[in-house]
């Protein structure tokens, strides 16, 4: 226990329990397994060209587009995903397991296939294509398509995280709130949401990260045009065709952005 430990923040004299020592060793190995490749990649970067590479017009455009679309997708995921998680965790209806499985499907679809699937629905000749055409909306080749593709692949992450947290935290406090006169809406806003905040945050980070790294579905569904649909992963892929070093440099940029976003936003706290 360092001195700062015992004087600040959440350290309240409560003893940490339930972490056998061997798990820390195994955990360290796991962290190493993820960290080594990233270090290995960093060692390959040609630092003399790094600055020029990551500030090129194409790279900057791609990064901005990526950030913008990933943020919008995350918002959409939250909007739709939290109700979906609530429905799966709290209510019972026939076919629930099938619905849950369907919701998880985008996880397992290779992204390219996800893109084909999206084309078959939102494309000009897709299931809903005519509807959109009548409304004067063209989705394919637009930034909207990028957001849709990212939302499609990222949504299951949010749903699953939130659902698991909802199940683990139980419904006792919701019952108390209801007897105190809170309508279902109030219960949701003032009790359920704050209680699942840790799961919600980690789900949102997962969804954002997945959206930020999305490649296959975007390429297949939205295409690849600088400033419109060419996100950073697509730019990386393209760079790689001519200059592997440039690709690695851009990938490192992506890693850095992701790290910043995650360190800055991801602070779930327990409530026990």
């Amino acid at each position: 226990m360092s001195r700062s430990d015992s004087h600040t923040g959440p350290h309240d004299g409560r003893v940490t329990l339930g972490v056998p020592r061997w798990t820390l060793l195994v955990a360290a190995l796991g962290v190493l397994f993820i960290m080594l490749p990233i270090v290995g990649m960093t060692l390959r970067v040609d630092w003399s060209r790094f600055g020029a590479l990551v500030t090129s017009e194409a790279a900057v455009a791609a990064l901005l587009l990526s950030l913008r679309t990933a943020m919008m997708s995350t918002v959409l995921c939250l909007l739709f995903g939290v109700p979906m998680a609530l429905g799966l965790a709290r209510s019972r209806f026939p076919g629930q397991r099938l619905v849950r499985a369907v919701v998880l499907l985008p996880l397992v679809l290779p992204p390219v296939v996800g893109g084909i699937a999206l084309l078959s629905t939102f494309g000009r000749r897709g299931l809903l294509g005519e509807t959109f055409e009548v409304l004067g909306i063209q989705i394919a080749f637009s930034t909207t398509a990028v957001v849709l593709a990212q939302t499609f692949v990222a949504l299951p992450f949010l749903v699953l995280s939130v659902e698991a947290t909802l199940r683990a935290s139980g419904a006792r406090f919701e019952a108390v709130a209801a007897t105190l006169g809170a309508t279902p809406g109030t219960v949701f806003r003032r009790v359920t949401l704050p209680l699942v905040l840790p799961g919600l945050l980690s789900g949102a980070v997962l969804a954002f990260a997945r959206a930020l790294g999305e490649f296959g579905a975007t390429l297949t569904f939205a295409g690849s045009l600088q400033g419109v649909t060419r996100t950073l992963p697509l730019e990386i892929y393209l760079q790689r065709e001519t200059d592997a070093d440039a690709a690695v440099a851009l990938a490192l940029l992506l890693v850095a952005v992701a790290l910043i976003v995650m360190v800055a936003t991801h602070r779930p706290r327990g409530l026990s």
Partner: protein
């Protein structure tokens, strides 16, 4: 505010019917597992009975016919759904103080107590003022800004009482509200409850005959999910019939009073 209840819940072996008059406090007595908490949860709307009916001052809490499976000649609906009315908890304006305090861990003590008024549509400021009044009444004002996780057991219990009372329910359901209180606090809390309960319909679960005596107009004694004894507190305690009631009142000498 007459409350009328008749409910059957087979899973818990419960079958009861009773009435609470306006402003009356009824104590539910009975051994562990007799069904006291179950009755409160049925009244609050957290449990749905197999069948029965409950109304408060004309508002139907539930009205459920017996399931078709058990009724040989009943008007069984083809789709197997039991027809009926069920009012959700929030629309009942009953408040349940459960056996555990269950304070919201993410709100501080004041906001816990303000939760009821807020849900009833009071402004944030008004709710907090109200909360502070109730916290003072329960003698826990000192902890208003703490998170519930930082309270002792008895402190949490008092906050839970304050929270229940602050919601100003039409029907108040109290499950052992004096648990975990220290001996010095009990008289004050009993007084607080007494004051509050005077003009409200209340169902109070307790294991303490003194609480029943001090607070309840009438007692209902349960055993195995059925009512085995019922009547004005003093007369039941003076002439206990059931064995449980005799054990409960043993040593309290009430035979002299009317």
């Amino acid at each position: 505010m007459t409350f009328e209840l008749a409910a059957v819940m087979r899973r818990r072996g419960l079958e009861v019917a009773f009435t609470v008059s306006p402003g009356e406090t009824v104590a539910l007595l009975g051994s562990n597992g007799a069904g006291k908490s179950t009755i409160l949860e049925l009244c609050a709307g957290l449990l749905r009975p197999d069948s029965g009916k409950a109304t408060l001052d004309g508002q139907v809490f539930f009205d459920l016919a017996a399931g078709g499976a058990d009724r040989a000649g009943g008007a069984d609906r083809a789709d197997g759904r039991r027809p009926g009315i069920f009012t959700p908890p929030h629309a009942r304006r009953t408040v349940l103080l459960a056996q555990e305090p269950l304070l919201f861990p993410h709100l501080n003590v004041r906001d816990n107590v303000a939760f009821g008024p807020r849900s009833a549509g009071e402004s944030r400021a008004a709710s907090r003022l109200l909360a502070d009044e109730w916290l003072a009444a329960a003698e826990v004002s000192d902890f208003a800004d703490r998170r519930p996780g930082m309270l002792s057991g008895g402190q949490a219990q008092r906050v839970a009482v304050a929270r229940a009372l602050a919601a100003s329910p039409r029907l108040l359901l109290l499950d052992e509200p004096m648990t975990a209180l220290d001996v010095a606090a009990v008289p004050a809390q009993r007084q607080l409850l007494h004051r509050v309960l005077l003009d409200r319909s209340v169902i109070l679960v307790t294991h303490d005959p003194l609480d029943a005596l001090a607070l309840a107009d009438r007692v209902i004694v349960l055993q195995g999910g059925r009512i085995i004894e019922e009547g004005p507190t003093r007369s039941v305690f003076a002439h206990p019939q059931a064995e449980f009631t005799r054990a409960l009142t043993f040593g309290l000498d009430l035979s002299a009073s009317p």
